[in-house]
């Protein structure tokens, strides 16, 4: 039984079938890649998994339980964290606040009466935790900065940090490396790997940085025109002819 599984997801938009009978599964502690050409349906699949979109057919299950009908926040509280391809940040809040909110909401100390009694104020330990995570993602010292003052790549890192602060059991990352150069991408991969070993969550990664997918993930799914075309160990997938024709072009894995 997989931790997070999608069975036969189909999603149509006016005129296009964005997802066509897609099956994927992610387990705890696993690193899975999801690649495919632009418009293949990767982000749409993420949206179906988290509940931003209702699939037309198929079901999503978490920990053996069907969550197809649950609202977004219930799924998030079960332990699904995600980042957005188009950054979705809390404008008007500082960088640290983003992490603090995420931590707070997940740890469930949010009753109104507690707030009214003054028990809900942020504690030094919480702030400490946020800063540690920021530090490890290379954002140390930026905690007080307003979120609008960040460059694109920095914003993405904040999203990753926010997702990790919810103590997820599975994390969906949508192009986390865009806006980062190669060295920073490697650093991000190392950090993710380290935190994953500590917390043991499953990881589903959408990326066009094939290098990152090739080195970071164990298994990879490939989508094309909404259909799953292959699935298997990443190194095999990268050698697959169909994948090369549809997506990779003349990229050669492991040339670095």
């Amino acid at each position: 039984m997989s931790l997070l599984a999608a069975d036969g997801i189909t999603k149509r938009f006016a005129g296009i079938t964005a997802l066509d009978d897609v099956h994927i599964a992610v387990d705890e502690g696993e690193r899975v890649g999801l690649i495919g050409p632009n418009g293949a349906g990767k982000t749409t699949l993420f949206n179906c998994l988290l509940g931003l979109l209702r699939p037309d057919a198929g079901s999503v299950s978490f920990d053996g339980q069907s969550i197809t009908r649950l609202p977004i926040y219930r799924r998030a509280r079960l332990g699904i964290g995600r980042t957005f391809q188009r950054v979705e940040l809390f404008s008007g809040s500082s960088v640290r606040d983003h992490l603090l909110f995420a931590h707070r909401i997940r740890s469930g100390t949010g009753a109104l009466w507690k707030d009214l009694l003054g028990l809900g104020l942020p504690k030094p330990a919480e702030i400490e935790r946020c800063d540690t995570l920021l530090e490890s993602l290379g954002l140390g010292g930026m905690g007080d900065e307003p979120i609008e003052a960040l460059s694109l790549g920095q914003s993405r890192l904040v999203e990753v940090a926010r997702a990790l602060m919810t103590q997820p059991r599975v994390v969906l990352l949508d192009e986390p490396s865009s806006g980062l150069d190669r060295a920073e991408t490697t650093a991000l991969a190392d950090t993710l790997a380290r935190i994953q070993t500590e917390q043991g969550f499953g990881l589903l990664l959408v990326e066009h940085d094939v290098e990152l997918v090739a080195t970071f993930t164990e298994r990879t799914y490939v989508l094309n025109f909404g259909k799953l075309i292959t699935h298997g160990p990443t190194s095999e997938v990268m050698r697959d002819d169909e994948v090369r024709a549809a997506y990779l072009g003349d990229f050669v894995a492991g040339t670095s």
């Binding site: 938009f13 296009i16 495919g36 050409p37 632009n38 418009g39 982000t43 749409t44 391809q85 188009r86 003052a149 960040l150 460059s151 694109l152 790549g153 920095q154 192009e175 865009s178 806006g179 980062l180 150069d181 190669r182 060295a183 920073e184 490697t186 066009h208 940085d209 094939v210 290098e211 549809a246 997506y247 990779l248 072009g249 003349d250 990229f251 050669v252 040339t255 670095s256």
Partner: protein
């Protein structure tokens, strides 16, 4: 600073240069309110020249691109386009002078359809039939968006929106094309395609200023490279030496077949 940048005010000290660069930034400082982003940046892009702008996340690449197209007004220094002072000029004049800018991220009108996005861009210089031709060329360049010509641009996938943004400029051959985070969000096979087109319009005489996270592609295309660090230029020189100058650890050209 190194070669291409002169130390003193070039307008006064040097004899009139033989070739007037398309874009020149002299001792530019830039800031977002109280947040300072660029410090004394001087660079120039000559006629038909291709320059890659490289640097870490948050180094100020996007800010340079924004200053170069008039989106951000510098707090100090000058910006010259074709030898004319454009420092306090609004962005639309840069565009009219042939400096076009593809911003990073989803640079499209989200509530317009694909076709309306392109029509808006093409109709400034063309009549109805000209627009139709340009649309046809754009759709030929990027077949995925051709199938979605009536879709609202805000609902396109991230990569499709990038294609739309690129299609707006790749159909023309502007004087200077500034592309920020060029290959961001594009599938490798599309990135290859975009670079092929860029090489074509470079050969047709367009100057390029390219911001790119994956250095290999960019360096293969460009003559010159500029490294930014903490808002200041740390190195500039021929593209072939850029990787070395930046330090192999910082810039890994792997992941690119051309290098």
């Amino acid at each position: 600073m190194t070669d291409a940048t002169t130390t003193a005010d070039p307008a006064e000290m040097a004899p009139a240069p033989l070739v007037i660069p398309v874009l020149e930034m002299r001792h530019v400082n830039a800031a977002y309110g109280p947040f300072r982003a660029l410090f004394d940046v001087s660079l120039s892009v000559g006629e038909g020249e291709t320059v890659a702008l490289l640097g870490r996340n948050g180094a100020g690449k996007t800010t340079v691109a924004r200053v170069a197209s008039g989106l951000v007004e510098p707090t100090g220094g000058e910006v010259m386009v074709d030898g004319n002072d454009f420092t306090k000029t609004r962005a639309y004049r840069y565009a009219k002078a042939g400096v076009v800018h593809v911003p990073e991220g989803r640079a499209v009108f989200p509530d317009f359809s694909v076709e309306e996005n392109l029509t808006l861009a093409f109709s400034r210089t063309r009549d109805r039939s000209g627009v139709r031709d340009a649309l046809a060329r754009a759709f030929e360049l990027f077949p995925p968006i051709a199938q979605r010509r009536r879709q609202i641009a805000g609902t396109l996938s991230g990569g499709e929106q990038r294609m739309l943004a690129m299609a707006r400029v790749l159909v023309e051959t502007p004087r200077l094309l500034i592309a920020d985070e060029l290959s961001l969000g594009l599938a490798p096979i599309v990135t290859d395609e975009v670079y092929a087109v860029l090489a074509r319009i470079r050969d047709a005489g367009t100057a390029l200023l390219i911001v790119e996270q994956h250095m290999g592609h960019a360096l293969a295309l460009c003559d010159r490279a500029i490294l930014l660090d903490h808002g200041a230029i740390s190195w500039q020189g021929p593209a072939s030496e850029a990787a070395q100058a930046a330090g192999a650890s910082l810039f890994d050209t792997g992941g690119d077949s051309r290098s």
